[in-house]
C-alpha cells in the first residue's frame, strides 16, 4: 500500500484563543429581556414605565431578599453536589427563637415575659446560632453517616418545622421591639442580601474555601486524594448554609414584625430554583453566586411585573412556569450555540 501522502511538517498552528464570556452572561441577558418585556407591556397596558420607578425597583429586590439569602447558602451546598431542603424550616425556627427574645417590654402575652428589652445582639445571635446548628447537624449526618443529602435535609425540614410549631404551640409571636425590627425595614434586607452575595462570591472565587467547594462537587474522591478533608469541608458548607437560613429568619421575622411557625414554607424550593435558573448544576461542581443572584432577581422581576401589568392571578402561575422554563431554555440554547457541538 502506497503512502497516501508524504510526511508533511505541520505548520505552526496557533490554537484560536477564544475568550469565553462568563456563563452568567446568558441568564443576565434573559433577566434583561424579561425586564424589558414588562417595560414594553407597561407602556402598552398601563402607560407607565416599569423600571423607571425607584420604589418598584427596590420592592423587586426586597421581596426576594430572603429567598436570595437562602439561595446563596444553597448554591454552595449544590456546588458540593448536595441539596438543602431544610432552609425554609430552619428559617422558621430561627425566626421563632429570635422573635421570642425580641418582644417589646411589658407585652402581656410575651413568650418570655422576663426576657424582654434585650439588646439586639441577643436575639440576633440566638437566631444565627440556631440556624448554624441545624446546618451543622445536616452536614454531620451527611459527612459521617453518608446518607444522601436529600434525606438528611428532608429529615431536618420536617423536624425543624415541627420544632418551630412546638416552640409556642403554634401561636405567633408578635409585638417585636424596634431595636430588632430595623433589620427587616426599608432597604435593609436588600443591603444584607447584596453584601452577603458579595462576600460569598469572593469566598467562592478567591479563597481556598471556594476552590475546595468546587473540587468536592466535581469529584469527591479525587478531592480526598488531593488532601482535602472532605468531611470537614462538607460540614462547614452546610453549617454556613444553615447560618444563612438563620439570617434569613431574622430578616423575615423583623420584616413582618412577628414570628410565625409557618414562615419560609416552601422557600427552599424557590431558593433551589433561583440557583438552578442561575446556572448552578445539580450535579455539583459548577455554578456561581452571580448566577444565583440573577436567578433570584428573575423571580423578583416576574412577581413585580405580574402585579404591575395586572395579569389575572389565576394564570400567573401558568405564565411563571413558562417563563422559568423559557429562561433556562434560552440560556441553554445560547450556551450550546456558542459551543457549537
Amino acid at each position: 500500500m502506497e503512502p497516501l501522502s508524504n510526511t508533511l511538517a505541520a505548520p505552526d498552528r496557533k490554537p484560536k484563543r477564544q475568550r469565553r464570556l462568563p456563563t452568567e452572561f446568558g441568564i443576565l441577558a434573559v433577566l434583561i429581556g424579561i425586564a424589558l418585556l414588562f417595560e414594553a407591556l407597561g407602556w402598552g397596558i398601563r402607560g407607565q414605565s416599569f423600571l423607571g420607578n425607584q420604589q418598584r425597583l427596590l420592592v423587586m429586590i426586597l421581596q426576594v431578599s430572603v429567598v436570595g439569602l437562602i439561595a446563596i447558602g444553597v448554591t454552595q451546598v449544590i456546588i458540593t453536589g448536595g441539596i438543602d431542603l431544610s432552609s425554609g424550616s430552619v428559617l422558621a425556627v430561627s425566626a421563632m427563637v429570635a422573635a421570642s427574645l425580641a418582644q417589646e417590654p411589658g407585652y402581656a402575652r410575651a413568650v418570655f415575659p422576663s426576657l424582654s428589652g434585650l439588646p439586639f445582639i441577643v436575639p440576633a445571635l440566638c437566631g444565627l446560632v440556631i440556624g448554624a446548628l441545624a446546618g451543622f447537624i445536616n452536614g454531620s449526618l451527611i459527612a459521617i453517616t453518608a446518607i444522601p443529602p436529600f434525606i438528611a435535609t428532608l429529615g431536618m425540614m420536617v423536624t425543624a418545622r415541627s420544632v418551630a410549631q412546638v416552640y409556642t404551640r403554634g401561636q405567633p409571636i408578635s409585638m417585636l421591639a424596634e431595636n430588632y425590627t430595623w433589620i427587616g425595614s426599608g432597604a435593609v434586607p436588600v443591603v444584607i442580601f447584596l453584601v452577603t452575595a458579595v462576600i460569598f462570591h469572593i469566598a467562592l472565587r478567591y479563597t481556598r474555601y471556594g476552590k475546595f467547594t468546587y473540587a468536592i462537587g466535581a469529584n469527591p474522591q479525587a478531592a480526598r486524594v488531593s488532601g482535602i478533608n472532605v468531611n470537614r469541608h462538607i460540614m462547614l458548607v452546610y453549617t454556613l448554609a444553615g447560618l444563612l437560613s438563620g439570617l434569613a429568619g431574622l430578616v423575615t421575622s423583623a420584616r413582618a414584625q412577628s414570628g410565625q411557625s409557618s414562615m419560609g414554607l416552601g422557600y427552599e424550593l424557590d431558593a433551589i430554583a433561583a440557583a438552578v435558573i442561575g446556572g448552578v448544576s445539580l450535579a455539583g461542581g459548577a455554578g456561581r453566586i452571580t448566577g444565583t443572584v440573577i436567578g433570584t432577581l428573575i423571580l423578583g422581576v416576574m412577581t413585580s411585573g405580574f402585579t404591575f401589568i395586572g395579569i389575572d392571578s389565576y394564570i400567573q402561575g401558568i405564565v411563571k412556569g413558562i417563563i422559568i422554563v423559557a429562561a433556562v431554555v434560552a440560556d441553554q440554547y445560547r450556551q450550546r450555540r456558542r459551543r457549537k457541538v
Partner: protein
C-alpha cells in the same frame, strides 16, 4: 447515499461486496471551540487487516473514531462503507451498518450485570416479550467461552476490576459481529497476560475478514499485530505505511515531528538512605505481609498481574484506605497515615490509577485541576489563594509537561486522555513530594510524552525523590526501576534487582 438500515439488510443477507476497502474516510474535518480536532483527514481500511492509528495525545484519533461510530458529526467530509457513501447520524446507525467501537473511556453500567451490559438493546426475549435472563446469561457464557474469558455473566460490573471491565467491553464489541471493529486503546488497563489474550481474539477476527482499527501508544503492540499503520499529528493525517515496511523510529518521528533518542532514559541516581519502610503491611481481605524499603533517589517498580493488589498497597501507604495491620516507617520513625492529607504531610504524593474516578475534576478547568493539591499548604494567605503565583507555577508546569490545551481555563474534560494524565502528574509535582507514588503513570500517554515523563521521573530521582512506580507495562518497569517488587494475590513474592530482572523472572514471580 445509503441508509444504515439498508446496510443492515445487506449484511444480514450475507452479500459479500467486493470493495477494496471496507471503510474510506475522506476529507473529514471537525472543530471544537478553540480547537481544530481534525483537519481534512483521510483513512482507508482493508478487509482482514489490523490498521493501527498512531499519534500523539490530542492528535485527533479518538475524535475520528467517534465520528465513524456516530458519536460526533463531522463538519465536512464523507465516509464510504464498502464503496458506498453513508451518513452515520447516531451510534445506532453505526452499529446497524456494522461498525462497533470500544471507547477509550469505559462505557459500562456499574449496577447492571455483565450479561445485561453486553447485550443491552439486544436482550433475548421470551414468548411474553419479557427478557429471558437465563438465555441472556447462557449467551454471555457462550461468548466468554469462545473468547476464553473467565467472568461470571451474572455478576455486577461494579464488582470487577478495571481490567475485567475492559475485557467485558471487548466482549461486548465482539458480540456485535460487526465488519469493522474499532479499539481505542483497549490495552491501557491490561497487563501482558490479557494483552496476549486480546491479540489472539484480534487474530481470530482478522481471519474472518473483519477490519480492525487499533489505537495504541504502545510501540511493541504495533509491530506485533498491525498490518497497516496510519499516523496523525495535530489533527492532520500524515501518512499510511505497511507495518513491515517501517521502523519504530520512523513511526515516532512521523508522530512527533522530531527525533526521540531514548525511550527509557534512566539516569543513574545517587541512591541514599531508606526513606520509606513498609513492614508486614496488611489491608484485611486484600493484601498482607507486604514489606519493602524505598530509598532516596531510588525508583522502585511494583509489578504484578492485574488484581494482585498493587493499587491497594499504594493507596494504603498514602492513607486512602488506612492499613489494618503492619507498620510504615518514615525516615526510620514509625508513622500512622489515616488519610491522604496525612500522607501529603509526610511528603508523599500519589498519582492514582483511575483518571476518571479518582483523578480529574472533570467539570473544572485545567488550572483548578492542577492547583488543587498544592493549595492545602502553599499559595494561600488568610484563606485567599494567591492566584497570580499559582498561575505562574501552573503555566510553567503546563509548558514543562507539554500539555496540549488552548489555555489553562479549558475544561479538563475536553482534553485528550493523555493530556489529562499530564495535568494530574503536574498536580503532584507542584507539591514537591519527597516520596512520589505513581500508579500506571503513563497509561494512555503517547510515546513522546512518555519519554518526557520517564525523563522527568529519572530527574526527580536524581534530585533525591524516592519513587514507587506501579506499572503493567513490562518494558517500562524493566527500563525504569532500580529494584522491582513483584506481587501476586496480595503478597510480595519477590524483590528483584535491576541486574537480575527480566521479563521471565518477573512473570514467574507474578504468576507464582
Amino acid at each position: 447515499m445509503l441508509s444504515p438500515g439498508t446496510f443492515r439488510t445487506v449484511r444480514e443477507a450475507g452479500v459479500k461486496t467486493r470493495a477494496d476497502y471496507l471503510l474510506e474516510v475522506d476529507n473529514v474535518r471537525k472543530e471544537f471551540p478553540g480547537v481544530v480536532a481534525l483537519d481534512n483527514v483521510t483513512l482507508r481500511i482493508r478487509p482482514g487487516t489490523v490498521h493501527a492509528l498512531m499519534g500523539e495525545n490530542g492528535a485527533g484519533k479518538s475524535t475520528l473514531m467517534k465520528i465513524i461510530a456516530g458519536v460526533y458529526q463531522p463538519d465536512t467530509g464523507e465516509i464510504r462503507l464498502k464503496g458506498n457513501q453513508i451518513k452515520i447520524a447516531t451510534p445506532l446507525d453505526a452499529l446497524e451498518a456494522g461498525i462497533a467501537m470500544i471507547h477509550q473511556e469505559l462505557n459500562l453500567m456499574p449496577y447492571m450485570t455483565v450479561a445485561e451490559n453486553i447485550w443491552i438493546r439486544r436482550e433475548p426475549l421470551n414468548g411474553f416479550g419479557l427478557v429471558n435472563h437465563r438465555e441472556l446469561n447462557r449467551r454471555t457464557a457462550e461468548l466468554f467461552r469462545r473468547l476464553a474469558i473467565d467472568i461470571d455473566p451474572a455478576s455486577e460490573v461494579r464488582d470487577h476490576s478495571v481490567a475485567n471491565r475492559q475485557m467485558i467491553e471487548i466482549a461486548k464489541a465482539v458480540s456485535y459481529e460487526s465488519d469493522i471493529l474499532i479499539m481505542d486503546e483497549p490495552t491501557s488497563a491490561l497487563t501482558d497476560r490479557e494483552v496476549d489474550h486480546l491479540f489472539r481474539i484480534i487474530a481470530d477476527l482478522k481471519a474472518q475478514g473483519k477490519g480492525i482499527i487499533y489505537i495504541t501508544h504502545k510501540m511493541n503492540e504495533l509491530f506485533t499485530i498491525a498490518d497497516d499503520v496510519s499516523i496523525f499529528r495535530d489533527g492532520r493525517y500524515i501518512a499510511t505505511h505497511a507495518a513491515k515496511d517501517i521502523t519504530r523510529e520512523q513511526v515516532i518521528a512521523a508522530m512527533v515531528g522530531r527525533e526521540i533518542t531514548q525511550m527509557f532514559p534512566k539516569e543513574e541516581a545517587q541512591i541514599g538512605e531508606v526513606v520509606l519502610s513498609v513492614k508486614d503491611l496488611a489491608l484485611e481481605g486484600v493484601f498482607r505481609d507486604v514489606s519493602f524499603d524505598l530509598r532516596r533517589g531510588e525508583i522502585l517498580g511494583l509489578a504484578g498481574l492485574v488484581g494482585s493488589g498493587r493499587t491497594n498497597v499504594a493507596e494504603t501507604i498514602f492513607g486512602v484506605t488506612p492499613a489494618t495491620g503492619g507498620q510504615i516507617r518514615l525516615n526510620g520513625q514509625p508513622i500512622r497515615i489515616r488519610s491522604p492529607r496525612e500522607g501529603m504531610k509526610a511528603g508523599m504524593a500519589l498519582l492514582t490509577e483511575d483518571r476518571k474516578d479518582t483523578g480529574c475534576f472533570l467539570a473544572l478547568s485545567v488550572l483548578e485541576n492542577m492547583q488543587m493539591a498544592v493549595l492545602t499548604d502553599r499559595f494561600v494567605t488568610g484563606g485567599f489563594v494567591n492566584q497570580g503565583a499559582v498561575n505562574a507555577e501552573c503555566t510553567k508546569m503546563k509548558d514543562a509537561m507539554r500539555v496540549k490545551t488552548p489555555n489553562l481555563d479549558e475544561r479538563i474534560e475536553n482534553l485528550s486522555g493523555g493530556n489529562q494524565q499530564k495535568v494530574l502528574i503536574g498536580r503532584w509535582l507542584l507539591t514537591n513530594p519527597k516520596i512520589l507514588i505513581l500508579d500506571e503513570p503513563t497509561r494512555g500517554i503517547d510515546v513522546g510524552a512518555k519519554a518526557e515523563i520517564h525523563r522527568l521521573i529519572s530527574r526527580l530521582a536524581c534530585e533525591g525523590v524516592a519513587v514507587l512506580m506501579i506499572s503493567s507495562e513490562m518494558p517500562e518497569i524493566l527500563g525504569m526501576s532500580d529494584r522491582i517488587v513483584v506481587m501476586h494475590e496480595g503478597r510480595v513474592t519477590g524483590i528483584l534487582d535491576r541486574a537480575e530482572a527480566d521479563q521471565v523472572s518477573i512473570m514467574r514471580l507474578a504468576a507464582a
